[in-house]
């Protein structure tokens, strides 16, 4: 139901201007400017990347179920574009409370939420087991970075498990108690301790009578809620804020783009890289746009002159559209799609840093 609510909210905000697959990309957290721009423009940034386990197949199933249930209807002849029915508007109104929409801060936390949670999981497992003098437990995650982090923290805590666990209890308790019991329960049941492994997605969905999608969303939502509460008053949550402290806030770029970045820094041209890596030129362009979006010191001037950048920005304001085609039609024909995308990406980055 939460998932339905999110889809409906997205459809409502998108105003018939985007297809349903843009919703899929949004909640899945696709790293493309189009998706991130959409998130900003349509005020859906809170949902960005909140459901990374979603598959296209399941998404489509959900979508058609909403159509069958009379909550969504296609917009005219546009393929894949939907709008809410009156029934849906009422439905959203009636369920506002249960939809947990306020938990989510996708764009802010989607890069850190998972690492935070894995650290928390493994830390609890380690502290409780070692407190009971049990050193041969099988860790819940084998993520190398998480393991290394926990080892390091464990050394610091050095036989003071009792105190650390107590603080963890106090901090977690004081945040979770602000949530409805059911959400707190789902979260607590997912945790692993001494001789007690946490429940799987499916077990949670059975126990709480939730769809698998909703289990994921509640867990993600509670994690985002924890993160934002911690961030607000770090002093109140010493242990929890210690867990988040050094987590890289930046969204990670894809592996393939990072290879391109490395080659660029060695002064290979785009054409050379494309040949070396046996990838299409357009793919390399995509990588560079990705770098423009996420790298703090990206040098856009290397790809498009200052004057041309300004031209694109002026047009952007005049035509008041983020559609590449509209912009392309109104700028000097020398300016390529790739260059326009770069300008948009760099400015998007600035925009989102503002808030």
């Amino acid at each position: 139901m939460i998932f339905d609510g999110i889809i409906l909210t997205c459809v409502s905000n998108l105003n018939g201007e985007r297809t349903a697959s843009s919703i899929y990309h949004l909640v899945k957290g696709k790293k493309s400017i189009q998706t991130i721009q959409d998130a900003h423009i349509y005020q859906l940034d809170k949902f960005y990347g909140i459901h990374s386990h979603l598959t296209k197949e399941r998404f489509n199933k959900n979508l058609s179920a909403l159509v069958t249930a009379g909550l969504l209807k296609p917009v005219g002849t546009k393929d894949g574009v939907f709008q809410l029915t009156t029934h849906a508007v009422n439905w959203l109104d009636n369920h506002r409370e249960q939809l947990k929409i306020d938990y989510f801060h996708g764009l802010t936390y989607n890069g850190t939420a998972n690492s935070f949670f894995l650290r928390l999981l493994l830390l609890i497992q380690t502290l409780t087991n070692t407190k009971m003098d049990h050193y041969h437990f099988i860790p819940v995650t084998d993520n190398y970075h998480v393991e290394r982090w926990v080892k390091q923290v464990y050394r610091k805590i050095n036989n003071n498990q009792e105190k650390a666990l107590e603080s963890l209890y106090i901090e977690l308790y004081s945040i979770l108690k602000k949530l409805p019991d059911k959400d707190a329960s789902v979260f607590v049941d997912r945790l692993t301790g001494y001789q007690n492994y946490g429940l799987s997605t499916n077990q949670l969905s059975d126990k709480y009578n939730l769809s698998a999608d909703d289990v994921h969303l509640i867990l993600t939502g509670v994690i985002h809620y924890l993160l934002s509460t911690i961030q607000e008053k770090e002093g109140n949550y010493p242990i929890l804020s210690y867990i988040v402290k050094d987590l890289d806030k930046a969204v990670q770029i894809t592996h393939s783009a990072s290879i391109t970045s490395e080659l660029l820094s060695k002064n290979y041209t785009i054409e050379q890289i494309s040949a070396m890596r046996n990838l299409k030129i357009n793919t390399i362009y995509d990588h560079i746009v990705e770098l423009a979006l996420y790298e703090a010191n990206f040098q856009v001037d290397e790809y498009i002159s200052q004057e041309e950048q300004e031209e694109v920005l002026t047009v952007l304001n005049n035509v008041n559209s983020y559609k590449l085609k509209d912009i392309k039609n109104s700028v000097n024909t020398n300016i390529s799609y790739f260059q326009i995308r770069l300008v948009l990406a760099v400015n998007k980055k600035l925009l989102s840093q503002g808030d």
Partner: protein, 517 residues
Amino acid sequence: MQQTIPLEDYLQRYFHFNSFRTGQKEIIQDVLEGKDVLGILPTGSGKSICYQLPAIIQEGTTIVVSPLISLMIDQVKELKANNFKGVVAINSFMNPAERRTVYTNLGSYQLIYVSPELLQQHELISHLKSMTIKLVVIDEAHCISQWGHDFRPDYLKLSETLEVLHHPTVMALSATATPEVQTDIIHSLGRPNMHKRIYPMDRENIAFCMEEVTDDVEKNERIIQLFKQFKIPALIYFTSRAVAEKTAEILSTHLPENNIAFYHGGMEQLDRISIQQQFMNGQLDIICCTSAFGMGINKSNIRLIVHYHLPLQLESYIQEVGRAGRDGNSSVGLLLFSPKDLYIPTNMIKNELPDETDLRNLFLYLKNLVTQEKMKITETNEQIENRLQISEIQWKFFRYQLEKHGIIKNNYIIYDEEQWNETMRLIQLIMKNRFMYKQEKLYDVFNWIHDKKCLRNQLYRNFQSGFRNATYQCCSNCGFSWNKWEPDETETNSKRISSWQANLKKLLLIGEFDETE
């Protein structure tokens, strides 16, 4: 080489066992002397130690080629939990950053687990090439044989890999290899002088039961009835993920005293680990699973293995039933089948392999590229699978054949009309043979389930001559009786539902829960 410290001391020091089990010492001595060895030992007999011990005490690195991710991860975790740190499993679940970190530190590991597919990767190989690889182990070695389990062409490239790695000592291990498969393993590894250490692989403490029912509804009833009678850790094997899920749900509603879950290859990593560990830990009693939960799973007190669907080969059955009774105590393998079931496996083996149309499409596609003078294959594997509408395994099979027959070399197409026609005919023949072979394997299963003679005798007769008598009851044809079965039962965990506040307290060992042991 001088062996001053007795091997038993190492066994005691690193694994805390007093003595070797049958075959272990012989196999370990072989590799320490630099001899290649093929070891056939029953399921649960302790094959892992045969390479873990040499890996610890020898200089240089040991590579273990293993077919299943779950199996690798499990063994690595267990070793780490036992304070052996120089071990890593390289698998496709690792993200690129993790993998890079591991690759740059590769030299610091004594024991590296890897899938055959990843072992073909250039990046990994180039790292391994510069290291001293002392021993390469092929666990579950029946997978190498082209007559083995799944068709995975990368297994057939192992002999080339051995050359690249400067001819390390080789150990191949399996619990299910017929003499025919044994020969094939030795042959594909290109090590004709491999020392054979073959031990009887029958399991004396497992009884075999065959029960015919009319349909799935009756299967469910039968299973529910059994678990009402016995409270025991058990696995139920399915060939379909969906049926495994559905049955887990049905059983859960009818068996409130039992904790039941499903496990299959389509689940996300965190969930897989939690289900597997809950089961190992006794939080779960019954798992409805596919073959993804199987090979190598090492829980000592599984008492019952039910087969809800027919296995495709007796080898798979021996593997899967081999999860039972690893502590040596009385256990049962129960195979349930209905007349309708006989059609499912035939369809499954048909779909595993590409068919003639796929083959024709493949050559049309290649010919097309040639006409356009695009001699380099630029599409990714995924794109090609999509284009030809074939599965990953099917494309791998084709690709392997094309490379083997020189039609593709380093991603370039080499065109010679006559040779192409010849090759196409050859591939077609291979496909046909392969299908017939699988069908024969399936007939072995059909024959076995309908056999009136001792099931133990009939199950093992293709693998070895003779077998040991059953320690407990033998089989349903020798007069098995459920009422006379007295397995060690487990206690009922109370499924008391408490508040999240209480649970959190208990989890974090706060206050009154402090004294839990």
